[in-house]
Symmetry: C2
Subunit: 399 residues, 2 copies
């Protein structure tokens, strides 16, 4: 017996119903903000990702050569592909461009709870504006996607890399390794590297959430952005310890968490970045975020969200000799978009009712000869046990 | 500049709207027939596909080793993964099981018009019944998915491998190579291989579409199935030359074409097969089909199908000093699910109107100080040029 690859998942019908429901809800919110969906291939040239994230990314990437020796990679994230597409195709379009995506990504990682080798991300890229209201709208989009999906507990933290870097310059402690340690929250190592006094100043700095106390000019723009966040109705806190991993992030950065998820609580990360020139395009303000779809679903499930489905559903059973008439009934019901399961096992009425019960189907239609002659079919409610003879049109109204 | 991999595609917002519309329509039809969606990983152990389709499949497959030396493959099709999932998880469930899927597949093939290295398939598997009405319902599902997506011209051809194999046995011409030549419609080679007399008999056999003239017992079941096809309202023709490529197909097979697409006209192929024991499961009747999603979309476009979108859309512009009020308006409209693009470029009203015109947005809302004091905003219809002062609630009614 061949099993599925380690670290991947199959999804049952019940899981797919939840996933498709959440997907559709998130899609609606992105679109209500004027974002338009685009899509890119599942694999790309490996270079695209090393250019953006450095050679280190290869260790965690499914990279392979095709039969012509091209180095390809299953995409580990979607910002680089979307920006590649932008540079190839959309540079001349009127700005802003607001693109969203929903796609699977891959990482070659030790499988663990809540982390899979194939996972799904929603995300977006906003190209062409770095005005304060544009950045506030971006953060509002991320918050609304989570909030309007039904999530109750969301923590929004907003930071600023220009301010963080200016502060680190001021205490003579800025380098790539320190940024990495801040991002990974490895405070012990950070203290050793910075020295005790500088580390103390750093801890005071990140504990402060008062933008008014910061004198760098970058704080002025930041104050304007968060004032618009209030207009957009986004609850937030200032967190100047957000470092994001990579060099091309600039200015505002933000993360959103579902505290219930514990160590793997981060649902969303994003900010302003400068990646287009890396890909050979003309410099332009860009920003965006990605939302972990699997984790958001998990967070909703942990909050006890009600995913119950609303679509109408019926089972069609028939007495001997009435199969053709049952087909007619099923055709009409399906034509109305009603989920219609017809007996295709040649079951008796009793066994059909048992089956419907087991599958939790509330409405059963029985096609029987006497009733059929009078233009009627039997509609049985499996919850109450009641049954009545009705026309097909009445079935459509009653279920 | 890094380009996208050869033979793959990016999709623009306009293409994605069409794709998501068609996806959603097809999904509804599968569900109306009582099929439930499942999903499997994008890559599988390579063995899964060689077991089903033979070692030959490797030449056309994206196969690679992961860092532990496991041989993996990007899925070339979805029947084997779905059946693997069935064997692992659903063997004990009450039958029938009716699963559908929508996913991307990969083939390492010379890219050409209408054939891509990454492509999308809808499909389904029905497990647990081979009764005539079950097979007729399966064919009806495939037909309805295409028909109810709006496709006008669909040719349904139904064949039977038991009958074809019995006939070939009768003229002493049955072997794997002949089945392959029939499948590929290589008639010249077939004549050379069969000999002139047998080839003549074979051509007479496949030209006949009269099941009543066939004396094998298999024809009896076939006649019953096609009689139910009439009850399901499926127009069909008999085509006994359908061979499908692979050995595990048994009994009824069918294909559906969009004649406008020329050489690449086949949209759907399926039938009855016996694959579960190959995967280590207990023998059980199974059947299913796959529909080429990209080709179906192409066929709809060639028929001039109207994909025009119905969702309400508005652009919010604002006069100087009215940005916070504009944010309020945008929040309310977005909360109603209206696609709301707000100016985030700091544009003048005139430039905002130019932009809305260019993007084909019919409704523009202008937030202006005098009207705001009276609880109103300006609604401008870009098609007629008319404008009026209305409340936000009136905007929601009018657009």
């Amino acid at each position: 017996m061949i099993s599925r690859p380690r670290g991947t998942r199959d999804f049952t019908p019940e899981e797919m119903r939840r996933r498709r429901w959440l997907e559709s809800r998130m899609r609606e919110v992105f679109e209500s903000y004027g974002y338009e969906e685009i899509a890119t291939p599942t694999f790309e040239h490996l270079d695209l990702f090393t250019l953006k994230s450095g050679e280190g990314v290869i260790d965690e990437t499914y990279a392979f050569e095709d039969k012509s020796g091209r180095k390809l990679a299953l995409r580990p994230e979607l910002t680089a592909p979307v920006m590649r597409f932008y540079v190839e195709r959309f540079q001349m379009e009127t700005k802003p461009l607001k693109f969203y995506y929903f796609g699977n990504c891959f990482r070659y990682d030790r499988p663990q709870k809540g982390r899979y080798r194939e996972f799904w991300q929603f995300g977006c890229e906003m190209i062409g504006s770095d005005r304060p209201e544009a950045i506030a709208e971006l953060i509002s989009t991320a918050y609304s996607v989570l909030r309007q999906s039904g999530l109750k507990s969301i923590v929004v933290r907003v930071g600023n890399l220009d301010i963080l870097r200016r502060f680190l310059d001021g205490i003579g402690a800025r380098d790539a390794e320190i940024m990495r340690l801040i991002d990974k929250k490895e405070f012990g190592e950070l203290e050793r590297r910075m020295g005790e006094e500088e580390y103390g100043k750093f801890m005071d700095f990140i504990a402060s959430n008062n933008l008014d106390a910061i004198e760098f000019e970058e704080a002025e723009r930041m104050r304007e952005i968060v004032s618009y966040l209030e207009d957009f109705g986004v609850p937030y806190s200032i967190d100047l310890s957000i470092a994001r991993g990579l060099d091309y992030y600039v200015g505002v950065v933000f993360e959103m968490d579902a505290p219930r998820l514990g160590a793997e609580k981060q649902l969303c990360g994003g900010g302003e970045y400068n990646i287009v020139p890396l890909l050979g395009g003309r410099k332009i303000p860009t920003s965006g975020f990605a939302i972990g779809f699997d984790r958001t679903l998990l967070a909703l499930e942990m909050e006890g969200f009600d995913f119950s489905e609303e679509r109408r559903r019926v089972y069609v059973a028939y007495m001997e000799g009435m199969l053709r008439e049952a087909i007619k009934v099923a055709r009409k019901l399906r034509g109305e978009g009603i989920i219609t399961e017809m007996d295709i096992m040649g079951r008796s009425i009793r066994k059909s009712l048992d089956y419907a019960n087991k599958k939790g189907i509330k409405n059963v239609v029985i096609v029987a000869p006497d009733e059929w002659k009078e233009g009627k079919i039997v509609l049985k409610n499996m919850e109450t046990g009641e049954q009545e003879n009705v026309s097909i049109e009445e079935v459509m109204e009653k279920i």
